[in-house]
Symmetry: C2
Subunit: 189 residues, 2 copies
């Protein structure tokens, strides 16, 4: 993503360089120093932005978490917990679609590297916890809030990974379909 | 667990010793050699049972997976996907209750050690994939099978962790409650 001056930030360039090196050399053979060198900065600069090479692929999580929790807080009051979450998921579609050129190769690296995949699952859990808190902030009780958040996140992750795998149908349509499937599941038993 | 001769197997003793050492010394300061020494076997013997110290805490996953997938395959044909999963979850209650003396301290170690927690999440995902396969074996289509399995596993993990935290209500009652909450969630929107 470009910053407001139209220039790519050092942080963005480090993320992009890391992803390229993971693809070219493999995750294990890539170092923080190598990533810094590709961008033309020192290793010390690298560590000002990221604690380790792994985190270069998880910088988007905080952005997504803020967008989702803000959308949950701002969702129409009449919506139930699950509809609130899907309202929030839909609100991030432009963000996710804009990030697709990075997200698609990123997903390929993450899903083929166990250490990254485990990290991804932990980040999704943090996201689910944040959504549960946001639902509680709307007056949803603790247990249903946690259950809704975990169920919703499982469905959201399922939809986005399927969409990164195949761009059609569009992400918004996939989210609608997955919510429909979820309701169908509970009707069918 | 004791084997059919009433003797604890070396494998079980290694698991138990590992758990004790993780609690006493912390995970990072425990070695495979230290675990072997506590049981009175060689380090080489340790590695015949486990690839590393971490896996001592995940040996139960294969047992649970087999029990769950067998129960899915044997569930009454009339049950829908989610009811099939909960039928399977309920069938493992005696197994899980019998394993509680190990599972409760294990959960405390796993949830307080990020590397173990990430591993746990990955194992739960493998379990969800196995359940999705088992549902497909009953004729459920691919997408709903995956969604049901992920949603069901999220609810199952939620119920068992809450139960390990506080033994009452019983696990069977927690599973019924969580299924009720799940249905309520989809009705409420």
């Amino acid at each position: 993503m470009a910053d407001r001056n139209g220039l790519e930030s050092v942080r963005d360039r480090l993320q992009q360089a890391a992803l390229e090196l993971f693809q070219e050399r493999g995750y294990d053979r890539t170092t923080a120093a190598g990533i810094a060198a590709r961008v033309g900065v020192t290793e010390r600069t690298f560590f000002r932005y990221f604690p380790d090479k792994r985190e270069t692929l998880f910088g988007g999580e905080a952005v997504l978490r803020e967008a989702l929790t803000a959308a949950v807080a701002g969702a129409p009051a009449a919506l139930g917990p699950l509809d609130t979450l899907f309202f929030a998921f839909r609100s991030t579609v432009p963000l996710l679609e804009g990030n697709r050129p990075f997200a698609e190769p990123r997903q390929a690296v993450v899903s083929s590297t166990p250490a990254l995949h485990e990290r991804e699952l932990a980040k999704l859990e943090v996201l689910a916890d944040a959504l549960a808190d946001a639902l509680r902030g709307r007056g949803v009780k603790a247990q249903p809030a946690v259950l809704a958040a975990r169920t919703g996140m499982a469905a959201f992750a399922h939809a986005t990974i399927a969409w990164l795998d195949t761009p059609e149908p569009k992400l918004a349509d996939r989210l609608d379909a997955v919510l429909g499937d979820l309701r169908q599941l509970l009707v069918a038993g």
